[in-house]
């Protein structure tokens, strides 16, 4: 629920409750007041009649308001106040009245007075009061709502501005400051803390990025020297076969070391999210071209790659990472496939599936995604390929699953 909705809801409920209770109390108070006024009037009338009788002896009747009759003394009872319905001749209809029945002995006669006052007035008054109060309530609530909305929006504006600023934040920016003019202390504190956090995040990121780049440089430069010296060496026209064999091994190792370093650095960069650049790429095309590159080396093992690729599978990712993902997956499948087998690669708009025959593996297939973990320790692979694959999948929330049964290895990636 949005912030304004919640505050509005609470305001509304509380205001309405307050008004309703207030209205109820008003209604009750006025009702009681009117009643007591009515009773007072009935008693006043009674006193006037009594005074009349005592002074002039005449019985003044005014039906239906005043009715007097003589009764036997023995019938005398106490005062009773009740509500009745009486036909009013002047209004020509039956109306509700409050009636005071009072017995009084004056002189030698006992009179029964029935004094009445009509109740319509009371119910009319109450009706009007209810309408006025009700209308006032509605008007006040609406006004409250409008004022609340306007005020809330203004007051919370800095907060929303902070949120939209945060949405823009990305670690690889060089600088990021949240700016909001606000005199509200809590918001100022919030801004200050957030700027601290984002500042730190940016600094850490830059440090790590520089580190990985420097590490790369420090390692690759001497490797370059080794490789170049070896390459220069083999240009010697007097090169002997025995020398060539030695150099071949040395070159292979240098090459392997260099690839290993690059892979490790890639993993570090993936960890610290140094690939913010993304664009919409055609995965089908990238996969096809990676497979293309590996077809010939695969043929050496008589491994045939069967492609079942749906065209036009688009995703928004970093194109370099997409290439790396597919390259490592396909190369892994081909490398571990025994000779004379087929590797099946399927791609559709939902998922990528690679199936290949491979060595039996009794452990948890998920271990294969760990760095340097190799099912076959003697294999010449670096053991990092699948780690890279997993990290790239994690980065883009692609669910990856590795099943091994009966020596059939199947990797599924939900895109």
């Amino acid at each position: 629920m949005k912030l304004l909705q919640k505050t509005n809801k609470i305001y509304l409920i509380l205001s309405a409750s307050a008004f309703l209770i207030g209205g109820l109390i008003l209604y009750l108070v006025i009702s009681v007041y009117l009643d007591s006024q009515l009773t007072e009037r009935l008693n006043d009338t009674k006193q006037r009649i009594i005074a009349r009788i005592k002074s002039s002896g005449s019985l003044w009747e005014d039906p239906p308001f005043v009715q007097i009759r003589v009764i036997e003394t023995t019938e005398k009872g106490s005062d009773i106040v009740s509500d009745t319905l009486i036909y009013d001749a002047s209004e020509k209809e039956i109306l509700p009245f409050r009636q005071l029945k009072s017995d009084l002995t004056i002189g030698d006669k006992t009179y029964e007075f029935l004094i009445r006052d009509d109740l319509i007035e009371k119910s009319d008054i109450l009706a009007v009061i209810t309408i006025i109060t009700g209308t006032a309530l509605v008007v006040l609530l609406i006004t409250l709502l409008i004022i609340n909305r306007m005020l809330s929006r203004r007051i919370w504006k800095p907060f929303y501005s902070i949120i939209s600023d945060l949405n823009r934040f990305s670690q690889d920016e060089t600088e990021f400051i949240i700016n909001s003019d606000t005199d509200i202390v809590e918001f100022q504190e919030l801004i200050s803390e957030l700027n601290n956090i984002t500042g730190k995040a940016i600094r850490d990121y830059q440090l790590l990025k520089r580190f990985t780049e420097d590490a790369s440089h420090e390692i690759q430069t001497p490797l370059s020297v080794i490789q170049m010296k070896l390459e220069s060496f083999i240009q010697d026209p007097d090169l002997k076969e025995s020398q060539a064999d030695l150099i071949k091994n040395a070159l292979t190792s240098v090459h392997k070391l260099s690839r290993l370093t690059k892979s490790l650095l890639l993993l570090t960069k993936l960890d610290s999210r140094q690939f913010p650049y993304t664009t919409e790429v055609d995965l089908s095309k990238i996969l096809a071209s990676q497979i293309d590159m590996l077809r010939d080396p695969a043929k050496d093992k008589s491994v045939f790659i069967e492609e079942r690729i749906d065209p036009g599978c688009l995703r928004t990712v970093n194109p370099y990472l997409a290439e790396s993902l597919f390259l490592n997956l396909v190369s892994n499948a081909v490398m571990h496939s025994p000779d004379n087998e087929t590797v099946i690669i399927e791609l559709n708009s939902i998922q990528l599936m690679i199936t290949n025959k491979g060595p039996a593996f009794s452990g948890d297939p998920l271990k294969l995604f760990e760095r340097f973990y190799k099912a076959d320790r003697a294999s010449s692979s670096s053991g990092l390929g699948l780690s890279i694959v997993k990290k790239i999948c994690d980065l883009y929330d692609f669910r990856i699953n590795y099943e091994i049964s009966d020596q059939i290895h199947k990797i599924t990636i939900k895109l």
């Binding site: 020297v225 170049m228 390459e231 220069s232 690839r259 590996l294 043929k299 490398m335 010449s380």
Partner: protein, 225 residues
């Protein structure tokens, strides 16, 4: 061609200089930012190799200077950083290519040759070695006037060898250049052998001589011998 190598690692600079110093190429070297600046202002070069991790300044800052004093020269950035940001900035600023260390000398050489052909279009887009003629526009290979009908991969291999003529090119280097880095990891290069075999056969069928020599299983060399 006059070439300037801007690289702080001496041995590296010298290795590259040795390799590319063929007949007609003059190589100069600069080991620091300031040295490079001086040389750029005084001389004109046809091709510049720039290492962007230089002491005394960021190599990328040299690019505008290069473009100012040597607007037409080819510029290849070499770097150990493999940083995409640098790559993009470098190419944006006006570099023609970006190569990451460590690289094969033959790879670097082939890129330099391609770049110089593009830049200094000396009228022909042909690479010639005796009776073998490669036409880069149409990716055709012709021997004694007859088309070799090479596949795309075979053409790439032959082109790579021709650009690095008289040099031993390792199998790894060929695999890396034509098929990509990972293919060079596998360690098995039979597929290259079979391609070379086919290339040789096609040349022989057109009465050409075989110039492709296997050097002890290390790699191949295209030369007279």
């Amino acid at each position: 061609m006059k070439i300037l190598i801007i690289e702080d690692e001496h041995t590296l600079a010298e290795s590259v200089a040795d390799y590319i110093s063929e007949h007609g190429n003059i190589c100069e070297m600069a080991f620091t930012f300031l040295e490079a600046e001086d040389k750029l202002v005084i001389n004109e070069y046809d091709l510049i190799l720039l290492d962007i991790t230089l002491p005394g300044g960021n190599g990328l800052d040299l690019i505008p200077l290069i473009r100012k004093f040597n607007p037409r020269c080819g510029l290849i950035i070499i770097s150990a950083k493999d940083s995409i940001d640098d790559k993009i900035s470098g190419l944006d600023l006006g570099a023609d290519d970006y190569v990451t260390k460590p690289f094969d000398l033959s790879e670097l050489n082939s890129r330099m040759k391609s770049l110089s052909r593009r830049r200094f279009n000396d009228g022909s887009n042909e690479i010639v070695f005796n009776e073998i003629i490669l036409k880069s526009e149409s990716s055709e290979a012709i021997v004694n006037g007859i088309n070799l009908d090479l596949t795309k991969k075979q053409y790439e291999i032959l082109l790579y060898l021709m650009l690095n003529k008289n040099k031993v090119v390792t199998l790894e280097s060929i695999a890396g250049h034509v098929w990509g880095d990972i293919a060079a990891d596998e360690g098995r290069y039979d597929f290259i052998y079979s391609h070379i075999k086919n290339i040789r056969k096609k040349i022989e069928e057109r009465k050409g001589r075989n110039y492709i020599h296997n050097i002890y299983g290390l790699g191949y060399k295209l030369c007279e011998e």
